[in-house]
Amino acid sequence: MTSTASEDPLSPPSQRSRAHDTSTELQPMPTSPAMDTAAQDVSLFSSPMAPRSGTSEVDASSPLMYGTPSSRVEGTPRSGIRGTPARQRADLGSVRKAPQVDMHSEPVSESCCHSEQGAGQRLVIWGTDVNVGTCKEKFQRFLQQFTAPNSREEENAGLDLNEPLYMQKLDEISVVGEPVLNVNCSHIQTFDADLYRQLICYPQEVIPTFDMAVNELFFDRLPDSVLEHQIQVRPYSALKTRNMRALNPEDIDQLITISGMVIRTSQLIPEMQEAFFRCQVCVFNTRVEVDRGRIAEPAVCRNCNTTHSMALVHNRSAFSDKQMIKLQESPEDMPAGQTPHTTVVYAHNDLVDKVQPGDRINITGIYRAAPMRLNPRQSQVKSVYKTHIDVIHFRKTDEKRLHGLDEDGEQKLFTKERVAMLKELAAKPDVYERLSSALAPSIYEHEDIKKGILLQLFGGTRKDFTQTGRGNFRAEINILLCGDPGTSKSQLLQYVYNLVPRGQYTSGKGSSAVGLTAYVMKDPETRQLVLQTGALVLSDNGICCIDEFDKMSDNTRSVLHEVMEQQTLSIAKAGIICQLNARTSVLAAANPVESQWNPKKTTIENIQLPHTLLSRFDLIFLMLDPQDEAYDRRLAHHLVALYYQSEEQIEEEHLDMAVLKDYIAFARTSVHPRLSEEASQALIEAYVDMRKIGSGRGMVSAYPRQLESLIRLAEAHAKVRFSSKVESIDVEEAKRLHREALKQSATDPRTGFVDISILTTGMSATARKRKEEVAQALKKLIQSKGKTPAMKYQQLFDDLRGQSEAAITKDMFDEALRALADEDYLTVTGKTVRLL
């Protein structure tokens, strides 16, 4: 064994040569089987051999005895490091066991290191610069001393951040009994950069050392603990690589962390770890460890010296679980115009079945490459390597979203410079104007609409009132754009859809209720029913853009009621009953029914949408062609410029899309403004004022919904400023915008007043009053006719028209008749009207 270490004492610990050394699956290295068995006895973990040796062989043949090495220990698990079985780490592989073992059998190595490298030299694992003793000591010191006072990780919740972090985690292990210690690599890096470098470069050697260190420490502290197997260290967040595309040959055999999306998982693959042989002649048993996927079958029985008498006993061999997972680059990481890359990942033991296709995950693991055999019987090799990652740690990136905790799950990592840049931008007094003009620069003017959409992109603050029984208050702002065709509504929607990370774009014409919500379908592979989510659920925490809102069928529209106020979706179909989160902002666009906006009609009449739905929109904007010369001139200039200006010129004028994206993402995740005292006063006043306006004319002009809208808008405006407090300027802008939108959408064309009831009840107050007047006039007319029990419908209509000074349409007449019928004054049967 020493020969292995001294074979090449002068060679620098070169990464290159190691890469190929570990990929020798095709030709086993010339190691003698004797060494292998010896290696096992002094294996780096306390060997399971020790307790096993004392047991009788009789019950060992029982079928209950097969399984992972951990289950092979008889009796109750004993405490202490010697008594706790080690579980083989399939993720690290057994490839390089021999040289490691050499170094761990300490008394021997002590002498060998002197002979090898002279006095005062440190002993290192062959091919690396890792000294086991130092490494262990460093890691133990790290565990004992490292504190992370500023840690914001969710995993550390409930821990005292000023105490050594990992010692608390060890205590946790002894309580919970799950022998896995997750270690954040960046912690190691801040603690000891050299140790970190070793961990990244030689994970296969360093991680077992860590395991050893942590187990010693653990059982020293808590000698009475009982664990299923020894603690395994799982490092994560190695900052080596972040993107799958950036992987290159230099990363082979290093610890890497990449993010991606699971696209396929294989069935469970049992992988033999240890083969059990029994002699057919003398029933002598022996175990052989699988070495690089091969079993060295003993040719001779050691007991009776019969040749070729050993037979493999399958159900006493030890297997470990393994699963192949295909990981695909996340769409965000990809350069435009390319297809996503995929990587093969192997999960071992308890990491099997931890992830499902579709999950977004960060994985930490060791990158491997192995040459491909062209033909097993030929010496020629395809000059290509197969690569895969042996996973050590999974971390789902969208996990928190599933649990509905917060938006932190999408922590986009901004560099310090970027944050500083964004903050600088936020400090500018005209940031609001700047951002709104950066929004869809190709669309001309409509500044208030852009401002509204900007606020929608930021959203309000999410408030939780579950305790008081009201549940969540909606923080999302919904906007409806209506107006003449060809006023670039669709373009605006497309822009927003492209801007936000979780945006969905649907068209009212083409979508059905299930397409928006969720549907159940049979998975072709597993034949299980699975819930497929539709656009609204997919845009949870994002924006759902719905074009041609008016063309949507009533059935489809009805599902929007729940989504737009409660922000959830309830589904009850095909045996699946559930409620999904759909905290989505809706940005809808609708065309007027008569293709051209009729300014003589109310919004409701123009777009013919139910008022119940309309009242759920915070802002309703009209996009009309303002027919005035100055506007035309600017519009023409803008459009012509669009066609001849070069890219650079455009970019000079506007913030680019990436900055806007980052700005919004940063504000959404890190700014959570709250109402200040002064702002709440301003809001109250605004609301009272709104109510007052209407009361003068005997109508209600504001409802609590409007107040909520105002609050949301004010909060969003505060977010734009990166302010943690909502102040009165925010309220002012919210009021202004709200008023502008109302002025456009809720003006009663007959009176010219803004009348909120158009949106809330679908009919303006004057229209209601008018209806009543007609009914009264009709009643008077009938009464004036004296005692005639029945009248001709047409006759009555003509009489009423002749009498009234205002034009009376047939609809109005019908309505009046209905009103009188409701009073039980008359009945209408066919073409005759009878008095009661």
């Binding site: 060679s11 290159r16 040569s17 190929h20 990929s23 020798t24 095709l26 040959p249 082979i252 999306m261 696209i263 396929r264 996927g293 769409p331 990809m334 350069p335 435009a336 115009g337 390319q338 297809t339 996503p340 990587t343 093969v344 490459a369 040459p371 055999r373 062209l374 033909n375 097993p376 010496s379 020629q380 395809k382 000059s383 290509v384 390597y385 197969k386 690569t387 869809a440 620069p441 190709s442 001309y444 060809g486 669709s490 373009q491 497309q494 492209n498 083409g510 293709s595 027919q627 010369e629 035309d632 001139r633 519009l635 023409a636 200039h637 459009l639 012509v640 410029a641 669009l642 066609y643």
Partner: protein, 631 residues
């Protein structure tokens, strides 16, 4: 047989030579690329390289330099390979350091995996298909310019195995001892000194051999149904990030068809028995990623030239001096335009306005994008085409004659409900399954709506219609990646022929108004065709591709005038002129100027564009009042 063109016949010798000289300094890789670039630059050296597009695969010498005009259909994962490796020769017990670049398989002796000389390198694989919808004339014209002397093997007979063994002894000039049958035959044929030009040999065979194979066993994943030609796995060694999906390329590379590569597929069962842990690839994936090289050859890229267009009549490189080229070739641009206009007028049964718009459509091009808005697209809807008559088919044939690549999509109910238009990622086979809408830039897509009959569109049909709508409005296709969609911008000229107004959006609708009514449509159209001399066609082709590539600007003065004009028009009747109309007018003015070879918008051009639009709109309105069913 050493010839002047050794670097074509045996490029690996050049590579190995440069590698040997380098003494393992890494800049030999650059030298190799430089060497071939230099060689190809020499006057018309690239025409000496045989092309995979027009020479059947079995005529090509393995490990020789070939070129391939193709579109990147899919990008596979990057792979690691042995850039440099060391072999142990068991017989002589000597070690040799070898270069693994541009090769698929290691050669000679046992590979020493533990050698410290080994260098692992990375390369990327692209799955390339011939440019979809490439017109026959373009193919022929490309093939015609080729001067490659590919030696047709007279010994191409089924029992060639025997021959190759005989010839093995003669192969000692070859550096490698590949047991490659076709190589044997090639070199034998060569030594017979057969220098007959390959043209007459290469016309026919491209369909019988390769296509017959591929339909039977392997789906070669061509975007368009009924396509022919070889697909190719192109191995890219540097700057693969510079290539994008659907890019048109002319790849110069080393052909690798070692039959040993397909052994992997055949002996899969055997190897999987030996090594049960090797389950990284499914059978489907194996089939796609390691198809037999006789069907899908490997091409190790030395140099690739991105193609701005695939018009063989124009120089493929340097778009900036294209304008000069155009003006030099077409001093008589005005007359060519006039002739083309007359020709198209005849084809469109005497409708000169429609012919004018068709020219504008044919030279349209997305030249820029403003956030989501593509600028310069000009989708034309030719309405008023007779229903279920062969007219649209003939019209398509005319267009096919004019543009380098095109496709006619019959929007029949069956097609809409069954055809896969949007490419989709197949995760089992790990590849992008192509769809009709995966087309290279500037392909003409001819949508024939006259074929549409009444009936119900199913889910696929609705998706396809949506995809077509997106393509027209935003010039993008959302590829389906199952868990998410990915947006790929495209630049496709869409022409819709329909009876009434098309159900798809379009930038401009022209109602066809025939002034002629020939008694026999087919005879009339073929007479029109015959009247054109082939050289005439070539002029049209150069004109159309050239005009599209011209630069274009608007001066400040004209900008002012246009603004004034817009305000003026709005004053009279705001309804008549919306922002949308101005958009269209600007595009029409641009295309009109370009079609006259003008680089900038003149006042005159603007007026002409306005007149043209006015004419078109009045016609549409007349049509409306005639039929009266338009909303």
């Amino acid at each position: 047989m050493p010839t002047v063109h050794d670097w074509i016949n045996n490029p690996l010798a050049v590579v190995d030579g440069l590698f040997a000289q380098s003494n393992s300094s890494p800049d030999w890789e650059k030298k190799v690329v430089e060497y071939f670039k230099e060689k190809l630059k020499l006057n018309d050296a690239h025409t000496w390289v045989p092309s995979l597009n027009d020479v059947p695969l079995y005529y090509l010498k393995p490990n020789s330099l070939v070129k391939f005009r193709c579109m990147v259909q899919d990008m596979f994962d990057p792979e690691f390979f042995m850039g440099v490796y060391e072999t142990n020769d068991l017989t002589s017990n000597s070690k040799q350091v070898k270069c693994g670049k541009y090769k698929d398989i290691t050669v000679g002796g046992q590979v020493d995996f533990n050698s410290r000389n080994t260098v692992t390198s990375e390369r990327q694989t692209f799955y390339c298909v011939p440019i979809p919808g490439e017109s026959q004339w373009a193919k022929e014209s490309y093939a015609g310019t080729s001067q490659a002397r590919v030696v047709p093997s007279t010994s191409y007979v089924p029992n060639r195995h025997k021959r190759s063994y005989e010839e093995d002894d003669e192969m000692d000039t070859q550096p490698q001892q590949l047991k490659d049958v076709s190589q044997g035959t090639q070199s034998s044929a060569e030594s017979h000194g057969n220098t007959e030009p390959k043209r007459q040999e290469t016309e026919a065979p491209s369909h019988d051999s390769s296509s017959a194979h591929c339909t039977s066993s392997l789906d070669l994943n061509f975007p368009l149904p009924g396509e022919k030609g070889p697909a190719c796995l192109v191995k890219v060694y540097e700057d693969w990030d510079g290539f994008k999906l659907n890019d048109m390329l002319e790849v110069f590379g080393i052909l690798s068809v070692d039959p040993a590569l397909s052994v992997i597929a055949d002996e899969r069962e055997a190897s999987s028995l030996l090594d049960p842990t090797e389950v990284t690839e499914t059978v489907e994936e194996q089939r796609v990623h390691s198809p037999p090289p006789s069907l899908v050859p490997r091409l190790h890229m030395l140099y690739a030239q991105p193609l701005v267009h695939n018009n063989p009549l124009l120089p493929s490189s340097a778009p900036e001096n294209n304008g000069d080229h155009l003006s030099s070739v077409l001093g008589e641009l005005a007359s060519v335009r006039a002739e083309l206009h007359t020709y198209l007028t005849h084809v469109l049964m005497g409708d000169s306005l429609a012919a004018e718009y068709l020219i504008l459509h044919l030279i349209s091009n997305v030249y820029s994008r403003r956030d989501v808005l593509p600028l310069g697209k000009f989708t034309l809807n030719l309405s008023g085409c007779p229903h279920s008559s062969p007219y649209t088919e003939h019209l398509y044939k005319v267009i096919q004659q004019l543009v380098p690549s095109s496709y006619r999509l019959c929007m029949s109910l069956h097609n809409m409900n069954n055809q896969r238009m949007v490419p989709r990622k197949d995760y089992t086979a790990n590849r992008l399954v192509s769809g009709t809408l995966q087309l290279a830039n500037n392909t003409s897509l001819f949508l024939d709506e006259t074929q549409l009959e009444q009936g119900q569109l199913d889910a696929t049909g609705v998706r396809n219609i949506t995809a077509l709508g997106n393509l027209i409005s935003w010039q993008k296709v959302d590829y389906d990646f199952n868990y998410h969609q990915m947006e790929f911008p495209c630049n496709i000229n869409v022409l819709i022929t329909s009876e009434g107004r098309s159900l798809l959006p379009s930038d401009s609708q022209v109602n066809l108004r025939p002034t002629l009514n020939p008694p026999n449509l087919e005879e009339y159209l073929s007479a029109v065709q015959v009247a054109q001399v082939p050289s005439q066609f070539n002029k049209y082709r150069i004109y159309l591709s050239g005009a599209r590539a011209l630069n274009y600007t608007i001066s400040d003065e004209i900008t002012k005038a246009v603004e004034e004009d817009f305000v003026e028009m709005r004053k009279d009747d705001p309804q008549s002129m919306s922002a949308e109309d101005l958009h269209r007018l600007l595009v029409v003015a641009r295309l009109l100027s370009l079609s006259h070879g003008q680089n900038t918008l003149s006042r005159d051009g603007w007026m002409k564009a306005k007149q043209l639009e006015a004419l078109r709109i009045s016609r549409t309105q007349q049509q409306k009042s005639l039929s009266g069913n338009e909303p």
